[in-house]
């Protein structure tokens, strides 16, 4: 069956703009980055159109492998801490009184939607050596010298956990909320102890939420360069800072592009794993 242009026109007019937008500003740029990753760097900046695998081979440098390892470690630590802190919180929220829920939700969303840089700046004020916490401890006589709190790996971890916590709580909450409480009661009636019914019933049933939350914490951690800059003072280099530097200061775009492709591949891999347990729609 053939449709005439006149019949197709409304669809074209309505869907056309978004198709053009997505093609122009998402698909083409990503393809271009992919292409750059196989090119040589230009003398001053930009790229030279010559095919090479050097950029990927360069990634196997010990120096870079060390940065990947530290970045993955930070992402794993951030995800685990967010999960351990977030699961009980999501359970509490799911069990709370019906009238309390919207307020509890709003209270989680508010910091989430407030500018993350301003909030990181708040931590910066709290933790600096001449900052609020050190000042308080000095005045109380608990310490003689200011503690080194800011510009440490711990501060970066704190900043990441803080910023990404809501990304963990929201999917956890929606999967716990869907859970029928009678299932847990049934497990209890059948003689399962609380730990056992949690491990055997609740945990498997909320796995989609756990996976969705973990991915939504894990992936951004790798890219949030401003948190490691502001909280870590650039002392430890992470993959996000490395990419940023290649594009903005070192001006080695091909290497930065190869690093970005690596990030995309990692993301796709995690998504693939996730698609076995949950639906894409739940990720948003």
């Amino acid at each position: 069956m053939k449709t005439s242009l006149k019949q197709r026109l409304p669809a074209l007019v309505m869907v056309g703009p978004i198709v053009i937008w997505l093609a122009l500003f998402i698909v083409i740029p990503l393809i271009y980055v992919f292409a750059i990753s196989f090119m040589n760097r230009g003398l001053y900046s930009g790229v030279v159109m010559e095919f090479t695998l050097d950029n990927y081979i360069q990634l196997l440098d010990l120096e870079y492998l060390n940065i990947f390892w530290k970045s993955i470690l930070l992402a794993v630590e951030t995800s685990v801490i967010c999960l351990l802190l977030g699961y009980p919180f999501a359970m509490i929220m799911a069990r709370a009184d019906k009238r309390m829920k919207p307020a509890m939700m709003l209270l989680i969303m508010l910091p989430f939607w407030t500018n993350s840089l301003i909030r990181t700046y708040g931590w910066n004020t709290l933790l600096r050596s001449e900052g609020i916490i050190n000042n308080l401890l000095l005045r109380l006589g608990l310490i003689q010298k200011p503690l080194e709190l800011l510009y440490t790996d711990g501060a970066v971890l704190l900043g990441m956990v803080y910023t990404l916590f809501p990304f963990m709580v929201l999917p956890l909450y929606s999967s716990i909320e869907k859970l029928d409480p009678s299932l847990m009661e049934a497990a209890g009636d059948l003689g399962a102890r609380r730990v056992r019914s949690f491990l055997r019933v609740m945990l498997p049933l909320t796995a989609p939420g756990i996976f969705a939350g973990t991915i939504q914490v894990f992936i951004p951690t790798l890219g949030y360069f401003f948190i490691s800059d502001m909280m870590g003072g650039g002392k430890t280099m992470y993959i996000g800072n490395l990419i940023k530097n290649q594009f903005l200061s070192a001006r080695n775009w091909p290497l930065g592009a190869a690093l970005s492709i690596l990030l995309i591949l990692l993301t796709l891999l995690l998504m693939k794993l996730y698609s076995r347990v949950g639906k894409m729609e739940d990720m948003v």
Binding site: M14, P88, N115, L117, T125, S182, W253, L263, I264
Partner: protein
């Protein structure tokens, strides 16, 4: 019935929830509190003043950054709401061959790390030779908020009754009139929440803006990022406080609107 019993939380649960909230609000509280501090240093609270709220208006570069932030937020929200609404309705109404491709492309900006979106736009803009500035900032903000607008609207459209439109058409309304008088009002809550989402995402963005901004289009977050190392003066706290307040107002308004609409729709 057991399910509808009023459940009360144990004291431990309440304490735990409060501690989590304390953790989430502590840095925000610090930023707000020190915007009222008489001392120029963000160390001890010396006395209460509104001074910084007046002083910030004299800080030219800060005001420029605020202006840029607001322009980018307004323009990108408007654009993504218009393109997104039309697209969501079109994708709901019509079936076309590439539908799945469009659907999948929509999720790309949602799942890829923001930094990758940022550098790919930077590379693309320099490839086509566009000067970095307000234009590139607005385009990049539309790019990351557009999918969220479409996805929000689509979830609204899922529960949408096509027969309302058919009835209007049967009664003699043409397509445009049906769209304006029937489709649009039904979609209004979805459009509202999509707009709020786009607005807050734009105001909140740091990473993508970092790569697509030019020397004359510095936004507030980027300005603050540049200042933090050297120590920030309290007028930045004052402006940040106003930004936080704006976010709170946007969120509460959209919450109220949504609940009212839900009540009206039964």
């Amino acid at each position: 019935m057991k399910k509808h019993q009023r459940r009360t939380l144990s004291p431990e649960a309440v304490i735990y929830a409060c501690l989590i909230y304390l953790f989430l609000y502590l840095p925000i509280f610090v930023v707000v509190a020190f915007s009222f501090n008489t001392s120029k240093m963000n160390i001890v609270f010396e006395g209460f003043t509104f001074e910084w709220y007046w002083k910030m208006f004299e800080n030219r570069s800060l005001m420029d950054a605020l202006k840029n932030t607001l322009i980018v937020a307004a323009a990108s929200t408007g654009l993504s709401v218009v393109i997104g609404t039309i697209a969501a309705v079109g994708m709901y109404k019509f079936h076309f061959r590439m539908k799945n491709v469009v659907n999948n492309a929509l999720y790309i900006p949602v799942v890829i790390p923001e930094i990758v979106l940022g550098i790919s736009l930077l590379a693309f803009f320099s490839l086509v030779g566009v000067q970095m500035g307000m234009g590139t900032l607005i385009i990049s903000h539309v790019t990351f908020s557009l999918p969220f607008v479409v996805i929000t609207l689509r979830s609204r459209l899922a529960g949408y009754d096509k027969s309302m439109e058919e009835a209007a058409m049967d009664l003699g309304a043409n397509q445009w009139r049906t769209f304006r008088r029937v489709t649009l009002p039904i979609l209004a809550p979805g459009i509202m929440s999509g707009a709020m989402l786009a607005l807050t995402m734009s105001l909140d963005d740091v990473i993508v803006s970092f790569f697509t901004t030019g020397p004359n289009s510095t936004t507030l977050p980027i300005k603050i990022f540049g200042m933090v190392r050297k120590g920030v003066s309290p007028d930045v706290n004052a402006l940040s406080t106003l930004m936080i307040l704006a976010t709170v107002l946007i969120l509460i308004t959209s919450n109220i609107i949504e609940r009212r609409m839900e009540k009206r729709n039964g």
